[in-house]
């Protein structure tokens, strides 16, 4: 038989709502552990290092360095380190035709609150900066 079911979820993000609100605006909002100071991005509700549950919000610049990237049928993704974060993050690459290794967080593409990175031309950045 053929059977089709459409599901329409409403998902509250609870204590992580500020992280997702910032992400929707293209802003990187990390969590910082009150106890050991580890900065996690994506944000967490407890510390992955010392397990303390007392966290503060801390904004990041949104700039990230690519550690590894993969080009897949459905898109390109990377493991990146955001400046100011102690953890690394998996992101989707908005402009995978660019092979540079520095990017900036941008507002998610589509309805899903994913992490999207625009790769930037570092040579031009450095030239412009001088």
């Amino acid at each position: 038989m053929k059977y089709q079911m459409t599901l329409d979820y409403t998902i509250p993000f609870g204590d992580l709502q500020p992280y997702f609100d910032a992400l929707r605006d293209g802003q990187a909002l990390a969590s910082k552990c009150d106890s050991c100071g580890i900065v996690a991005f994506p944000a967490r509700t407890n510390c992955a290092s010392c397990r303390d549950a007392s966290m503060q919000w801390t904004p990041l610049t949104g700039t990230a360095h690519v550690l590894f990237r993969t080009d897949a049928n459905g898109g390109s993704y990377a493991l990146v380190k955001f400046d100011g974060a102690d953890t690394t993050s998996t992101v989707a690459l908005k402009n995978p035709e660019n092979n540079t290794t520095i990017g900036t967080l941008v507002a998610p593409i589509g309805d899903a609150p994913g992490l999207w990175l625009t790769l930037i031309d570092t040579e031009n950045e450095e030239h412009d900066g001088h």
Binding site: Y3, I11, F13, L16, F20, A40, P42, A48, L67, F68, R69, T70, D71, A72, N73, G74, G75, Y77, A78, L79, T87, T88, S89, T90, V91, A92, P108, A112, P113, G114, L115, W116
Partner: protein, 386 residues
């Protein structure tokens, strides 16, 4: 050490993409009847059923344990379902081991089943698998399983010097092992060049580096040997059944290429079993991707795995044969059934009854390794020959 839990018998259906109109209920009944026959038991001898099924989205059946107990004629038994992503089947085996070891049940039937291939389109299955990680971060970003494994494999390669040739050799060898296994999904005769020429799925992984989506079922019976008939005496015994988790997000691990949760589970398993990695004579390892086999072997504590792989240590003739069933790459991966079939393979190998490629040197101990996520939830068992 676990000392009173025996493998009493087991059976599996072929793993493949069903096109014959049969249903997962049919496969479950076949696997269960095969396991009962192998153990010399009747359905009325079973007092507990543990079902492994990863997702109701595949079966379109909530509460599958009750449904499958009914389907298999196991009226009145205790029943439950166990889920842990890719490790679901193996975790169900662990639940069965615990029930026998604790005296909660005498004869436990563990049934793994999954229609991973035939019920949904591949893209839909891929989208569901994308929720196997952190659904709010990785899932919402749209990153799929193969891409996450590809990133982890790159980190592993950068640290260890493993090469794509090493990965391809595994993809070729496991498919060759599958050619000896009548139940295998991909019994392929492929070359290193064919692996390298297959289409890129997520760089560096190509199609032949990836395990397939499969349909199928597997069932095993666990019991204290004193509760078994003569036919099921002298079978493999469990020595350890351990699981451990790692950070769910790949980016929060100290080394994205190292399976730390698996290492913790393995270390505990060796300690409980009272054996060392060097004493393991055979392993069924979770090779969802070719590189993941090497990453797993590293975490399981086998020495110098890159050199060992190149020296042939993991072949049927080697010191520690790996995935003689074909593994996920060759035998296939109907998720709930995968770990149950891995344990079945290891037990039959230890008993000298395995139906496929056998190890040249009869092992005393076999290790079974399964994981969910990207080695996020890790299940390890160590079994001993009778």
């Amino acid at each position: 050490m676990i000392s009173n839990v025996s493998f009493a018998g087991g059976a599996m259906t072929p793993f493949n993409r069903r096109k014959d109109g049969s249903s997962f209920r049919d496969w479950a009944r076949a696997a269960v009847q095969g396991a009962l026959d192998d153990a010399g038991l009747e359905a009325r001898d079973i007092d507990a059923l543990i079902v492994a099924s990863e997702s109701d989205f595949f079966t379109m059946q909530l509460n599958p344990a009750a449904l499958l107990a009914d389907e298999c004629g196991l009226i009145g038994v205790a029943a439950k379902r166990v889920e842990g992503g890719g490790a679901s089947g193996h975790l169900a085996v662990h639940a069965g081991v615990a029930e026998v070891a604790s005296g909660m049940a005498c004869r436990v039937l563990v049934l793994g089943v999954e229609p991973s291939a035939s019920h949904l389109k591949g893209a839909d299955v891929g989208a569901l698998y994308g929720l196997s990680f952190d659904a709010w971060t990785d899932g919402m970003t749209g990153i799929d399983s193969t891409s996450l494994y590809a990133l982890s494999a790159q980190a592993f390669m950068a640290r260890t010097g493993a090469t794509l040739d090493d990965f391809a050799r595994i993809a070729v060898r496991n498919r060759a092992h599958a050619r000896m296994n009548a139940n295998a999904h991909l019994p392929l005769d492929v070359s290193l060049d064919e692996v390298a020429a297959s289409p890129v799925v997520a760089s560096p992984y190509r199609r032949l580096d990836c395990s397939p989506l499969s349909d199928g079922a597997a069932a095993i019976i666990l019991a204290n040997a004193s509760d078994l008939p003569a036919r099921a005496q002298g079978r493999a015994r469990f020595r350890a059944a351990v699981s451990a988790v790692d950070a769910v997000r790949l980016g929060e691990r100290q080394d994205a290429g190292f399976f730390g949760g698996k290492q913790r589970a393995a270390q505990r398993a060796y300690e409980i079993a009272g054996v060392t990695a060097a004493e393991i004579g055979l392993a069924e390892v979770y090779d969802s991707y070719s590189g993941a086999q090497l990453q797993s072997l590293e975490a399981l504590g086998f020495a110098d795995v890159i050199a060992a792989e190149r020296d042939g240590a993991f072949t049927a003739q080697g010191a520690m044969p790996v995935n003689l069933s074909g593994g996920l790459l060759g035998q296939g991966a109907p998720v709930g059934a995968t770990g149950v079939a891995q344990v079945l393979t290891a037990a039959l190998q230890l008993e000298g009854r395995y139906f496929g490629q056998q190890a040249t040197h009869a092992p005393r101990y076999a290790l079974v390794d399964t994981h969910g996520g990207i080695a996020t939830l890790n299940a390890i068992s160590i079994l001993e020959a009778p």
